[in-house]
Amino acid sequence: MTVTEAPTETLQQQARRIGTQVAAVHAADVDRAARFPVETIDALRAERLLGALVPAELGGLGHDLRQAARVVRELARHCASSAMILAMHHIQVACLVRHGSSAPLRAFAAEVADRQLLLASATTEIGIGGNTRNSSCAVELDGDRFSLTKVAPVISYGRYADGILATARRTADSVPSDQVLVVCRRDSLSLDAISEWDTLGFRGTCSQGFTLTASGPAELVCDAPFALISTHTMLPTSHLLWASLWLGIAEQAVSSAQRFVQKAARKDLSVTPPGATRLAALLVTRQQFAAPVEALLARYLRIADDPEATAAIDFMVEVNALKISASTLVVDVVGQAMLICGIAGYREDSEFSLGRLLRDAHGAAVMVNNDRIAGNTAQLALAQREG
């Protein structure tokens, strides 16, 4: 499909155009077949959006996280799997451009923008119980080359990625928490599938498990400790982009409910439709959802260059709280919209169908499980002090 360009459009309009003209067209098939949304990712590539977070001096669009979140949020309305892939790609790029200071890593970031490479992530590992701050696999150095083998229960869209950023212990002698982030290029890695991806929602992310085997120049191992990369960039970026994505899902459900009520109102002009009161309540929930997402994005942008401020307990507690509230509210909003649309929302063949949105929404609480986040917040709360 050819996407018609309008040069004066805003970023949100651009995302909406790709969303309606490409992502929405293929979303049902992507979902049904649990297939990679190649059309949408190619459309993003064609408009250079995979390089959104790469600085302009490296050939990227030089967007900030709020701009990237704007696109993710809009795209989520049309195909949440596509939006999740874009969000996860952005998270990797954010880590790469902030922490990959060596010349080869800078060159790789430039290549991401130039060739519109798609980056994936291998942070979890079989046998470490889902805690991404521990690794059992280790980087092996031989002269100026590294090699790495990692058994990862999930590498989202790994088969379609041009590069995978993997965590590993710094050396074979390092403790599990002494981790580094390694850039593994497509041309020097292999993936052996260990599991399939047949899930309730986010089916298009193709988040299979793999044994990843990679090698490359040692300079593709980031010098910065992963502990720093995680706190400073990966965690806040992930939670802000994901919350923006879930907000997009919620906004689509609200939009369906609103259109449904308006349609009912036109049918019988003598009464206010029964769903109108519920819609009013839903608009309150939508506002409660959107406000902290936008506020925390703004706060992160103010402190993003300050590793100490991003590691502050207050900020980490807020980011964790956002993850839990946003992932809970998205299910709540879609559920409320379902009550408003009634059987039309429940049907799979109506213009008000909410089924895919509801299934995708349920992924929010279980991807990085809310109970894990709550446990982390509980520990932070023991140390939190008033300033």
Binding site: R133, V175, D178, I313, A383, R385
Partner: protein, 87 residues
């Protein structure tokens, strides 16, 4: 770090050994050894902090709640000195 109070430092070492969940034996650490490199996680550092607070009946103020405060036995001793714990 030349004026470290031995008693405080040794008690900190005991607490780090008990609650730090380190890969190494705390007795083998110097006062400047990097505790994070020895396996201290941010989760365990909170437990160490609470144990230190209980031991000397102090409370770490917000400005000391940063990673570097718990980076070594010597750093914890220095933070305690700031809170008036020297003897």
């Amino acid at each position: 770090m030349t004026q470290l109070n031995t008693t405080v430092a040794e008690t900190v070492r005991t607490i780090v050994g008990k609650y730090g969940k380190l890969a190494a034996d705390a007795a083998t650490l110097s006062e400047t050894s990097d505790l994070y490199a020895a396996g201290l996680t941010s989760h365990a550092s909170v437990t160490v902090m609470l144990a230190v607070e209980d031991e000397w009946d102090v409370e770490f103020p917000q400005h000391l709640l940063k990673k570097s405060t718990f980076g070594s036995i010597g750093a914890i001793v220095a933070a305690l000195a700031e809170l008036g714990v020297t003897g």
